[in-house]
Symmetry: C6
Subunit: 198 residues, 6 copies
């Protein structure tokens, strides 16, 4: 499943870790821009809280356009659509926040996302990263999907310490407190192939 995205030379596709009723799973956040007036739309059978994460992510980016070296006028010239595939599965909760934000920053900057990396964490309007639940199940899902690096909130480190070491082999953890750290780890400085001029 993950291979579909592995070779992703496109911007805006990021792997997240989700906690569903049947255990942990990986999910993908996709986002695209189309000419428009700054409308944000979201699909993928998402609940209210997960939709709010998308709004938060976009607001954070708008508010930090300067730091992210983005021309603020692009927010008024494009519509943003975020999709989370596998529409048959209802999805909710705040833990896709950092994944959504990474997706959007990749999209707006056209920077390539690192390979074999996944992430889970709530985001705040100020760019803080908050801890989330279901860490053990998410780690197992990440391993099954051959993920190599994982980004999460530093307050989730204690959850990792409670997991049997054998399960953690081959995984590198990045503990973060701020979105800027997420972006520094997750995004390369390379532009995607055929990067769009925004």
């Amino acid at each position: 499943e993950r291979n579909k995205y592995e070779n992703n030379d496109v911007a805006g596709v990021v792997t997240g870790l989700a906690w569903t009723q049947v255990g942990g799973d990986i999910l993908f956040i996709e986002s695209i821009l189309s000419k428009g007036k700054g409308v944000l739309s979201v699909t993928g059978n998402l609940g209210k809280v997960m939709k709010e994460s998308a709004t938060l992510a976009l607001e954070y980016i708008k508010s930090n356009a300067a730091e992210l070296k983005l021309d603020p006028s692009i927010f008024e010239k494009y519509n943003v659509h975020i999709h989370v595939p596998e529409g048959a599965t209802p999805k909710d909760g705040p833990s896709a926040g950092i994944t959504m934000l990474t997706s959007l920053v990749s999209l707006f900057t056209q920077r390539k996302v690192k390979k074999s990396i996944a992430m889970t964490g709530e985001i705040t309007l100020r760019g803080k990263v908050l801890p989330v639940g279901g860490i053990k199940e998410k780690i197992l899902a990440a391993k099954r999907a051959h993920i190599k690096e994982i980004i999460m909130c530093s307050e989730n480190e204690r959850d990792i310490k409670e997991i049997n070491e054998d399960y953690l082999k081959g995984l590198t953890f990045h503990y973060v407190n701020d979105m800027s750290e997420v972006l520094a780890v997750a995004l390369t400085n390379e532009k995607v192939k055929n990067a769009k001029e925004l």
Copy 2:
């Protein structure tokens, strides 16, 4: 039932495979354009996820207008209406995604849809095709309706392999990973009769 559509010299009518409470069934996706401002409307007693598929399909087309050789200005000059007949039956789920996208590309390009072909598969914003459920029941329904070719996700091939060969006689399967493959198989290069100038 299918004969109604068989002779379809009009653009935008595509046969899908659905999985309903009473087993597999074929369904038809119809779409038309009318002069307007780019509004998408959807009818046919559809649930939230199936409506999202329509949005996804249109977003994908807008985002890939160049590859599809479409003038982006048409999206602002026409309204698009997608309908799934048999309003008495509630319909939902992501599996009509590739059918909807094929319908819209036929509509915008005025290319003829291949005869006796049906399809089922979820679509992502990036044009990936995802596997769906109910494959066995859908195949039986396709046979009853004299379908000859079926398009589905390559990950659904394993579902086909579990079906008794007798049921598969006379059917050709096209396993795909991307929407571009769906379109290459499903759409002819011939324009429909009385093709509209958009």
Copy 3:
């Protein structure tokens, strides 16, 4: 009850056949135009699917304006209101589709509707007519209301064949596959008295 409408020299009033919890019934579709911007509104305690039929009917007409000899600019200059009387009774289902479409075509062309005719059938965006349920009960209701001709989908002919011949005496059936056939039967070529100039 029906006599109220029998002498209808006005455009847009058409008799349909409905299947309610207390058996078959006739219903009337009324529609009027008022100066406006192309807004469609619908009243009569209608459910979601019946409202969708109204949208479908109007979309079909817009898309086939040329064939119907309608100036497309009228759709932007008038609002359309469709009403189904007897507001105390909730109404739903797709079977009023052809009745609604006939009503709107009569309205836009100001052509007189044939006398003593009733109809039942689902409509698709492409103008196909689909079969509907409750045929026996609808026929009985039509007889009680002194209807003489009935239009329905050719696939509903098998339902008529299962009805005792005695019940069918005095009724003429028109079996159709396309909306164009419905209109050819149901609408006269005569304009209504005091026909509006649109």
Copy 4:
């Protein structure tokens, strides 16, 4: 209670007959105009069907502006607000239709409503008056409120005939089939005091 309205030298206040869970009752329809853009708003704890009656009434008036000697431009220059007092009581059903229409015609023409008259009846888009239920209870309520004349659909005459004559003493009934008859009976040709210039 009724006395509050008896001396009504204002346009737009009309007495209706309602059938509630605690028996028949009289109700008042009030309407006012304010400078605006043609928006219709409705208050009074009304259900969906009763709100639709308000829409129907206004549409009928717009569509028959010429016959009612109304300048069509007024519909775009004023907002209309219809209120049904006694907000603690939920109200629904189609039977206030003719009362609402009479109220609005009084309002737009500034013609005085006849004294001591009440009415009940469903209205259609074409101005037909349909029969309604609860006639016996409504008559008793009208008598208690010293109503002298009552307007209803001619098909409700049979309900009146089933009522003991003693209850009907002092009441005059107007049986009608069309809205034009309602207006002829209910509205005087006198303008209200301080009639507005529209």
Copy 5:
């Protein structure tokens, strides 16, 4: 609690009497203007009927601008916000109508509200005052809050007569039929301190 408002040199704050599940209570209606386009917004955990009262109050004022000596253009230049404090308590029903209208007239005229006065009564679009329920409980609550004068509908006088005289000591009642009487009693002719120029 009431003392917070007692010294109110601001316009738009009026004391109402409410009937809640735990007995009678006083409530405060606050309203403010801000530069805008005539939007009315309402907060305070209000139900549908209480929100309708706010709409009615504003419509009445617009329709009677001349009598109230208000320049009609102010309704388009300001937004109005009405709030009923104590958001933890859901509030509904029509009885705050006269309190809301008094609040808004105070606001638009910048006239001071009389001290130690409270009121309860439904309002109609034409400015009539209707009786409400829970009078005994409301009187007890008014006494506890050291209210001295109470305005209510003249039809509620019979409810007062059923209350033991001892409970009524120190209270003056104003029985009214029209909003104009409410305003005459409740509003002083003095402008509030720092009255706004509208």
Copy 6:
């Protein structure tokens, strides 16, 4: 948890005290401005009453722009987004009112919020502060989070007096009646680092 915000050199982040199903807790109100047209949006899995608090807070500020030395034109040039982190927890009730208002005033004035201070209290449209519930649980939560000063309504002082003195050690209480007092205590006169020019 609180440390994330302790060092907050940014405007608009304020600590509140909440009463949840699992006892008292601290919560953070974040707010940011982005170029826009004065739209207020709110996220954080908030209920109706808590959303109303945000509206109230913004209305109060608009109405008191002069006193707060704010140029009224900024309200039309920026969108305001308020977020309450920890999206997995539903939040409701009026008690975050003063926290939201403090957050917005800090945002619009770019004044620094005092360190180690938390608050709880309902706000009214006129800037009064009302008492709230759950005081004991909130105090315990504040202590656990190393809060040093707490702002609440003077009517909540009686709740503090019922708490064992040992629990109150190290806490300073500010009892207030008006929002102006909240702001005087909670906001410093120092601008935040890199204060925005609005």
